[in-house]
Symmetry: T
Subunit: 68 residues, 12 copies
């Protein structure tokens, strides 16, 4: 790892069920164009409501990946 350089980007994913699932939505999308994702950090946890109920969770993650 000492020779690696990491880049981090910020994505926001959503889910109707849980915080973890909203994170996975963001990571899955990132994985379509990024290889070698190594870590993520949750930087914001929000949600949107309809009819006074949680419509979906919306979680922002900073994702770190190896730049080759």
């Amino acid at each position: 790892m000492p020779n690696h350089v990491y880049k981090s980007i910020e994505l926001t994913g959503s889910s109707e069920t849980s915080i973890e699932d909203a994170v996975r939505t963001a990571l899955d999308r990132a994985g379509k164009t990024i290889r070698n994702m190594r870590w993520f950090e949750v930087v914001e946890t929000r949600g949107y409501m309809e009819d006074n109920k949680v419509a979906y969770w919306q979680v922002t993650v900073k994702i770190g990946f190896t730049v080759e």
Copy 2:
């Protein structure tokens, strides 16, 4: 949305099972007196312990709603 004014308040809900459920407890209580809740943001996630186990999760949310 450009013509709306939002107010935000801070509530803390609890749950014996999960962070998401503690959020819903706070939102359900808010919904008894507030209409048109639009979004929330998790601002603090804590928990209380009894006999060295999690007794309940306690999550504070900032809730935004339309003022009419």
Copy 3:
């Protein structure tokens, strides 16, 4: 409670399944040497990835306990 003094320490636990479970991993380990844990606060929620999937959640908690 007014006569108690609390100490707080910071531990990081992991889980392959959820944020709540990573917290419990940290609390279970703390409970092996600490009695009278009273509260915790989530201070950082991260995760590590392998093959572009979440390998495990890693959550840091500040734990408060009574010093006797």
Copy 4:
């Protein structure tokens, strides 16, 4: 002023033209139910876009007023 107690609330106003105007929108709405507003502080300045242009500015203010 030393005998006054102030309460502060958080409102978000919008405007198609400027940050200052979005603040005024929030303050005007607050003034319908609150008397004796004394100060405000801008706590967040955001905007929403349509067709890659600013559709409206959205500014959150903390408003302090005298409670009698």
Copy 5:
């Protein structure tokens, strides 16, 4: 406590004598309309001066109370 929902509000109180007394001024005013106040947190400690002396301390507290 696990079944309670708490709301928190922000008030600013003043005192010519001490930080603690300014907090009590805010809490006393809050107690006129709020029942079941449970905790507070000092979020800002300021003061105003006249003739280069402290005229009064001005302390902002976030107050948490049970919503029934």
Copy 6:
């Protein structure tokens, strides 16, 4: 919106006239390569001076857009 994933990037724009105009400069540049910008947040407001006058305002915005 629940099915969307957003990415956010950070740009800094300048203007000789106003904070709002510096934001628009950054957004206009972003719009040359990014479609579907949805929101922005002002994260820093600075300025540079020449001959003790404001030469230009320099505003940093975090811009969120839909990744398809």
Copy 7:
């Protein structure tokens, strides 16, 4: 620039019309005694109200200047 040392000070200016104008008020005052001002950063944007209207904007800037 690599040989320069900068000092930064904090001033608060006011204006009845706009945030930008309040900044200029602070910079103009600073310019009476400081030469070679190079940059500024907005650190707080507040306002004071009378009769439930904005009486004046009050903006605090950190100003950097070359010390010779």
Copy 8:
């Protein structure tokens, strides 16, 4: 002092009378097992209420001491 290494820990003390007294409660408890305490910093000032009055102040301090 240049040859010393300091460790810092976090304790929370309580008092029915004042912020200073709550700090001393935490320091007194720390002094039972730690020698050579050198400094402390107040990191949080809270209080708990009963019957709408301050029941006790609760202050968290970070305490630095020489490790030998």
Copy 9:
């Protein structure tokens, strides 16, 4: 007040007795060279210890005064 420009500086005062007294020590010193001090804000509350007791409180304040 709308026509005033304020400057703020940061001083640290000490006291063997209380937080309030340490603030006054800083303000008294500032008053020897500054006229028209208007407000202060407590930005850090620390203390130094000798023989495991509080030797003195050390409080840092940001002081605002009118520049004429």
Copy 10:
């Protein structure tokens, strides 16, 4: 400079020898694909250990560059 728009990205570089060298590792990698880098800011300084010694320093920088 008033006509330029800057983009900033976040990279993490490593070094076995020093903080400055870890920064240069990140900047060198960035320079392979980015032209016109103008400034950087150190946002996090960490390190990893093996056999209780520093194995390598790991420094995260935000890098600003001109977008043309």
Copy 11:
């Protein structure tokens, strides 16, 4: 790593020569009683002066280690 629990503590080390050396002083002291140190994060970089020169650098690190 997914099965490990980490504890983090905060130490401050000093050096007359460099920031990196002050960090190593803290880590060396920690290594006398802690095994399996894994990472550290620089949380504060200060220095003390004598005769208007740097007498020594003083760096605070948060150190994470595996609890077994």
Copy 12:
């Protein structure tokens, strides 16, 4: 020390070689007009680049000194 009052100011120094050297540049300049400097704290570490290399490090320090 309990009888001293400290003032703190903010300076930014540069160096082509290291962070420590940029700090010394700021302290040396401060020492031309200030006596009795006691401590400093690094508050920002930046750098400027030319031809995609570090042209110079630019470090901002808060410097505390005794006011007599």
